[in-house]
Symmetry: C2
Subunit: 208 residues, 2 copies
């Protein structure tokens, strides 16, 4: 029988297109959600086999939704969809319990294959998924920040000053500045503005 999928994406146009693409490949889309709250509600209501979820949602983070789903329905595989090969989010998504991670410029056939695989119970370690992840990770270079550095940069991007970042991370302003210095090196930036912009371009951090 056909795999029953719940679509989560904030753009109605994308959802509609995705639904038609999937249904043309004999995948049954049982519901659509435009935000995280609707997604959580519909999962409980419709009990899909797989959730296909975009990372960027209006109300909450796709990663946050995935985390909640993983808690409430550990058996339900979540496939994360994203625009860009976004190393930071890949890691977070996997940690949150996503079963797979797909970039939006793969073909419909590829995503169908991934959906079928995770529906069959395969994990992120399956060859095809590893390939997808590699493809995602390959574009965008390497230049990866450490977890702490990402935190610092994200807070800066949210408008915090060095001192505020320090307070929120329970470290001294000095340490914050040190982290920033190594962020500048890794991102080839000379100041916080450029660092934030680079982080945005590389998908290391997100605009909130």
């Amino acid at each position: 029988m056909a795999t029953r999928v719940l679509l989560v994406d904030d753009h109605a146009l994308v959802r509609d297109g995705l639904r038609r693409s999937l249904e043309a490949h004999k995948i049954h889309v049982v519901g659509e959600a435009g935000d995280g709250a609707a997604a959580l509600r519909l999962v409980a209501e419709l009990d899909p086999d797989v959730v296909l979820m975009d990372v960027s949602l209006p109300d909450m983070d796709g990663v946050a939704v995935t985390k909640q789903l993983a808690g409430a329905h550990p058996e339900l595989p979540v496939v994360m969809l994203t625009m860009y090969g976004d190393q930071a989010t890949i890691g977070e998504a996997i940690a949150a319990g996503a079963a797979a991670y797909v970039v939006k410029d793969c073909t419909t056939a590829e995503i169908v294959a991934v959906i079928d695989e995770v529906a069959a119970g395969e994990t992120a370690l399956s060859p095809a998924l590893a390939q997808t992840m590699l493809r995602a990770a390959r574009r965008g270079g390497e230049a990866i920040l450490s977890a702490r550095e990402r935190e610092v940069l994200q807070l800066i991007a949210e408008g915090s000053s060095t001192t505020e970042v320090a307070a929120r991370l329970y470290i001294t302003p000095k340490t914050t500045k040190n982290h920033l210095a190594s962020i500048y090196q890794k991102l080839e930036a000379t100041d916080r503005t450029q660092a934030v912009l680079q982080g945005l371009r590389k998908g290391i951090i997100r605009l909130r």
Copy 2:
């Protein structure tokens, strides 16, 4: 007869879905392009009635492609598609010669209506298009910067320091700082990083 459309979007998945959505509404998709160069080539080759183009493309800007198309094929209406209601890009797109501007969270029916309208020769002044533009412009408030202030902020966002901005605009660094000060006031920012981020959110400037 059906309207013949050329799809331009860098994500294969989105293109595929869009094609199916449009064809379900009796719109004929004659071709797909994943980047600006392919778009220009296919327009010459396929002579579509309408081009449906995403703003973000890998090789060149959707706006830049539109500008070239407007030069080479003044009669060909271009409908710009975007993720966000982005006032800056709307203005640029219209200036570049786009016939319409649609946000990706409208329904398929709406975009079909827009495509049919522009195919019929209507311009951006048609009621439906004005409505679409209003919807796009509504989100994000007003808080508009002056032309000069936008220039300054855009250059800052491109990584220029105060002195570099001054040099590129042929003004003194002091004046640049004064512009920045009033930008901070208008955007409720306290430093350049926050100002750039606010500008990005409000669509006043663009990530390049």
